[in-house]
Symmetry: C2
Subunit: 368 residues, 2 copies
């Protein structure tokens, strides 16, 4: 299993072929998609390991570290120009959001976050004061969620700001929730409400366009407090995890909503091997989300289905657990799981059955 630099002919190959190093065979990553790429990688790393309970493929990896609890471990990268725009995202909020979205991944395993690491890539545009601003938001989130910042690195970045967060947490083995446990008949639930972060983003993008044309104008965002806040300062649903524990319920499957409801329902479908029916009339929308969708000539239901960054929890519970869940604050049943083959269905308010589409929320891939 040695790799020897000098015996594999890599030097001349590299020098000749330039820096893409794909040897003439070139499949664009876009052809596979991000999830296809992850599947491809995961299939190469299937060797069992004594410490690994669950590897690639859920919201967090699950490791056995010898104690009573499983270790949960997740990681996430945010790049300027891809995942955030500093034209309207204050660094303090960005720091908060970066932590909150990672805590959300631990919540999605029904776990409790413990600690984070922060890796920063910084171009020379960023000063010490800018880094302080970012960390002030990180610190707020750490205090809010009771987690420690225990490490990280800062390096030069070839372009802009890149934030890499690692997070660990823990969960008792009898309380862990995977994406894979849903059974036909289970009730599909969601915390909070949907689509607001997406509409907040649309407002901020519109104001940015106006500002670029008329720099003397200051945007008035005071009409959209909830939508803006949901985009710039999302919260992880720690309270939902706590409420489920207090109610004595372990979700049969769970995931957090980062790419959009429909995309996440498809993940539960794929991992659990069941189909789902989702009802438009059940989708929880804040009134301001509904109103602003119409103002943008968007279908509110579509915003709820395909808008990203809600960071709500999507989960299934067994029917016999439903009575323990029904009265929990901020939990809405939006559909149910069916036998595989029944179809992924979206039932409109008018009662029409449409195929559920996983459009999700794709970030662009930049040109070098």
């Amino acid at each position: 299993m040695e790799i020897s630099y000098l015996s594999d002919g890599a030097v001349p190959a590299v020098y000749l072929r330039g820096m893409d190093q794909d040897g003439g065979n070139r499949t664009e990553i876009g052809e596979l998609g991000e999830f296809g790429l992850i599947d491809r990688i995961a299939s190469q790393f299937q060797q069992p390991h004594a410490a690994v309970v669950r590897g690639i493929g859920d919201d967090a990896a699950v490791l056995q570290t010898g104690g009573d609890h499983y270790l949960l471990w997740s990681t996430d990268t945010l790049a300027e120009g891809i995942h955030f725009d500093l034209a309207y995202m204050p660094l303090r909020h960005l720091g908060f959001k970066a932590v909150a979205s990672n805590v959300s991944d631990i919540c999605a395993m029904n776990g409790k976050a413990t600690a984070i690491t922060v890796g920063l890539g910084l171009s020379n545009r960023f000063s010490v004061e800018a880094v302080d601003e970012l960390y002030s938001g990180i610190r707020l989130a750490c205090d809010r969620y009771g987690i420690a910042l225990v490490g990280g690195d800062t390096t030069a970045s070839p372009k802009g700001l890149v934030i890499h967060i690692g997070i660990v947490g823990q969960v008792a083995p009898d309380r862990i929730a995977y994406r894979s446990g849903a059974k036909p008949g289970d009730i599909l639930c969601v915390s909070g409400d949907l689509g607001a972060a997406y509409l907040g983003l649309q407002i901020l993008e519109r104001e940015k366009r106006i500002f670029l044309q008329h720099p003397e104008m200051q945007p008035d965002l005071s009409k959209f407090p909830y939508l803006i806040e949901r985009q710039l300062k999302p919260e992880a649903r720690v309270k939902t995890v706590e409420a489920l524990e207090k109610a004595g319920v372990v979700p049969s499957s769970m995931i957090d909503i980062s790419d959009g409801l429909s995309s996440e329902v498809f993940h539960l479908h794929r991992h659990s091997g069941v189909d789902f029916s989702v009802f438009e009339e059940k989708l929880p929308l804040d009134q301001s989300t509904y109103d602003q969708a119409l103002a943008f000539n968007l279908d509110p239901g579509t915003c709820a289905l395909n808008g990203g960054e809600d960071y709500e929890l999507l989960f299934t519970v067994r029917q016999e657990d439903w009575e323990k869940v029904v009265d929990l604050e901020g939990i809405t049943a939006i559909g149910y799981a069916t036998e595989a083959g029944m179809g992924m269905q979206y039932i409109s308010k008018a009662g029409n059955v449409h195929p559920l589409m996983a459009l999700g929320w794709q970030h662009g891939r930049s040109q070098d």
Copy 2:
């Protein structure tokens, strides 16, 4: 502790000041340096946390997870154009090196690595085949070190390739080695030999320059197998950690050599509160390192002191443990710790005493 987007005036400030967001006060990160910046951040995150044994400031964070062993956790970012150059670094080797350098951080705590996560930022220059090449090296390293790849993400990158590795491992509480435990009189030891990776880099940089001027010429690297391999395929010193355990020795302090010997000696000095004397004649250099340094008109000792990326282990042992260590393969005593205030000293072969200088190995910060 709420942060409210709408009440802190952040929107107009951001829009007016552009995207640097430092509010007119601007301290360049270069003024603080990477270590100064880490100290500044660390000072803001000193709250005790039940799960945290040791936070920011060592080669890995140390967490208590309820079992017999401590959890070790480290993280590292490698950016194209800053930390590696794909003109001469094959992606397979890069994958291997990225993992090995992180395993080295776990070794530096006297621990054993368990699992990694890999976060990739990819610009559209990179194909699926290129990603496969990178992962083939990651897989080789995972097999070699007996670790599992358990997660990660791939995202678009604003420029080039960015690799972020997270690693966890474990160590028994009575075997952990921090940077902070050296006492006066302790013997300073290093594994393997020094400076070879730095000279390998100089050769590759020279060959790249020649190739750019004469693309028809292929570099002949077969004269420098050891130096090239040390640069492109470093190994983590897992065997040194195992040998120390077998010998029944716990180093009183330890760190791995990524930025250069002298820089790491200064870390031990700073964390342990002792000074060090290092002897030029004791520095372990491979013959090819020595010869090639002279061929480049470089001082071999300086290459050993300040060349980066050796990934050897630098550690101290108590004098009474020395007889257990002296016969271990590949361990060299290069100096000893002295009382604080005695001075950081480098004693030349001629017996002259020079101040030890921590030049280290600084990566450039790019312009946006």
